[in-house]
């Protein structure tokens, strides 16, 4: 954050209010820095129009790695003791595909969880500035940044959209 800009948090009591404010903010030159919501909200998601999530790629990579890991595990352990059972090949495709398949699912889940954690930038040990504890209850927060000389305009914008405005982080109850 450079010295000549300032961040202002609008605290909304309704999901619709927050989503509408985001819609209107996107038409202005002010940048939306962060949005807080106590619930997963499709309305806010639609208003924000975030880029497509990358979690799917983690899942896919996990699945592909998993298939080969599972198949290799089965093949490797089978070749440690090359015992031919009822005329079947030691490294047999038909049953080892099942191991491969199970590992595909398992590793895809792992990839998905890792993707989720990394993409959501978790774990987060520090409370972000201007966070309000009500964002974990029943309020929505929209943090926007503007030039210092536009502070009043942005404040008025938030108030017109039905928000309560916060500019500094002091004196919050936990």
């Amino acid at each position: 954050m450079t010295a000549d800009t300032i961040s202002i948090m609008g605290v909304f009591s309704s999901q619709r209010g927050a989503a509408d404010a985001i819609d209107r903010l996107r038409e202005t030159s002010w940048a939306i820095e962060r949005v807080h919501s106590p619930i997963p909200s499709h309305e806010i998601e639609e208003a924000l129009q975030p880029p497509k999530s990358k979690v799917g790629w983690f899942t896919l990579a996990g699945g592909i790695v998993g298939f080969f890991a599972g198949f290799s595990l089965a093949a490797f352990t089978a070749t440690r003791w090359s015992l031919i059972v009822s005329g079947k090949p030691v490294v047999a495709l038909v049953p080892f595909f099942i191991v491969g398949f199970e590992f595909t699912i398992l590793f895809a889940v792992f990839g998905n969880v890792l993707g989720l954690i990394s993409q959501a930038r978790l774990p987060r040990f520090e409370t972000p500035p201007l966070y309000d504890w009500r964002f974990s209850g029943d309020y929505f927060g929209v943090l926007a940044r503007c030039q210092t000389d536009e502070q009043e305009k942005l404040t008025r914008f938030f108030e017109e959209n039905g928000a309560e405005v916060k500019t500094d982080d002091g004196g919050e109850s936990p």
């Binding site: 799917g56 896919l60 009822s86 005329g87 079947k88 038909v94 049953p95 595909f97 099942i98």
Partner: protein, 405 residues
């Protein structure tokens, strides 16, 4: 060939095309059955009877299933799914006609069955399968009748049959709570009958073609296959109606996405049921079980067909449908679903073909099978189009939002 897109503006012409296709198919079938190669004609008949009946049964299953689980997203799709019920009476009649070709569709007729003749004899087989189909179609039509009460109450009836039903309900207004309860009961009965009757038909008409082979999962495999192609046909029809300018029928993007996901899921289920049978037979390695698989997947000329089926029904749709976006593109889904359905048609052929044609060097697949398939397609399409002529309000697009319970 498939253009139900003009359902509303020019239904008579469309009907004529479908009747024409059905007539051509029937004439070719009769000609081949009488003067050419009756065995081949009747085997093509059996194959297409199974395939097109499964489409209708599977599509109606969608509506019954969605009603039973109280789905709220499926409104316009369920309306279209129900239209396939119009093929039920035709399918039943076609099954009765199959009786005439019994000599050609049951390769076990003159074999020593080592005690299986108690189960595998023509009167008992036709008796139980006919009873099963009557039961299944009866539940399906009863479910549809009760559901139409609520649909027509919402939309108003403007077609001939619709008005007749409406007049009947106006004369003696039924108890709504009772109608709703009965819809659910018949829906669940249809689901149960679907699993049981399609298993029975699968065992009797497909598996028994090779009377010394058995797989206990074959019945479940048969009805899963029917769900797979039924949902495929439902996607194709609703996508065609959705894209057509001549009616108000529209499906939302997320509804296409959801039915696409279901279709994708049944692609996996189909492959799973195939593999579950395959791996057990592979492990057991008992000659009387493996002979069936070896003949179909390893011996020429069937082995190539087996790979086409596996790639067309599982590998290709699986890889393509991983993509989220493509499930919401109606045009793409039509191509994928038609491809998969063609794959399942070939799969029916792969299961039945070797039992009828021992020691062949070339696939005995040609214009007879295709002509009969065209005829059956004409019948199915005419039945569905006729249904929408009776209930045109279903295509007027009052149900843009899926709101029903």
């Amino acid at each position: 060939m498939m253009q139900p897109s003009k359902v509303l503006s020019k239904p008579p012409r469309l009907m004529n095309i479908f009747y024409g296709l059905a007539t051509i198919g029937a004439l070719i079938f009769i000609a081949v059955a009488l003067i050419g190669n009756p065995g081949r004609a009747w085997q093509a008949y059996l194959l297409n009877f199974l395939f097109f009946s499964a489409i209708a049964q599977g599509a109606v299953l969608f509506s019954a299933l969605m009603h039973t689980v109280k789905a709220r997203w499926s409104g316009p799709l369920a309306d279209v799914a129900e239209s396939f019920a119009a093929f039920f009476p035709i399918s039943l009649a076609l099954f009765v006609i199959l009786f005439l070709g019994q000599q050609y569709v049951f390769p076990w007729l003159h074999e020593d069955l080592h005690g299986k003749e108690v189960w595998l004899n023509v009167p008992f087989l036709f008796g139980r399968d006919l009873a099963g189909l009557i039961l299944l179609y009866g539940f399906g039509l009863a479910f549809l009748y009760h559901r139409l009460y609520f649909t027509l109450k919402d939309l108003g009836a403007s077609g001939p049959v619709g008005r007749r039903l409406q007049a009947r309900w106006d004369r003696r207004p039924p108890d709504e709570a009772r109608m709703a309860a009965r819809t659910t009961v018949f829906g669940i009965l249809y689901l149960l009958a679907f699993a049981l009757v399609l298993s029975l038909v699968g065992y009797d008409l497909v598996m028994a073609a090779d009377p010394h082979w058995y797989s206990t999962l074959f019945g479940a495999y048969s009805f899963v296959k029917a769900i797979y192609i039924g949902f495929g046909a439902l996607i194709v029809l609703s996508a065609l109606l959705h894209m057509s300018e001549n009616n108000g029928y529209r499906v939302e993007e997320n509804q296409f996405h959801d039915i696409g996901k279901l279709f994708f899921a049944f692609c996996l289920v189909w492959a799973d049921f195939f593999y579950a049978q395959f791996v057990v037979i592979w492990y057991g390695n008992i000659p009387e079980e493996t002979a069936y698989i070896i003949e179909r997947t390893m011996a020429a000329p069937w082995n190539k067909l087996a790979w086409v089926v596996f790639i067309g029904c599982f590998v290709a749709p699986f890889l393509i449908l991983i993509n989220r976006k493509i499930k919401t593109v109606p045009k793409a889904m039509i191509v994928i679903c038609l491809g998969t359905m063609a794959g399942i048609w070939l799969e029916h052929y792969l299961l039945l073909g070797p039992a009828f044609n021992h020691h062949v060097h070339h696939l005995p697949l040609g214009w007879v099978e295709i002509a009969v398939a065209v005829g059956f397609f004409g019948l199915l399409a005419a039945a569905v189009t006729g249904y929408f002529k009776q209930f045109p309000e279903l295509l007027e697009g009052h149900r843009l939002k899926a709101k029903e319970v």
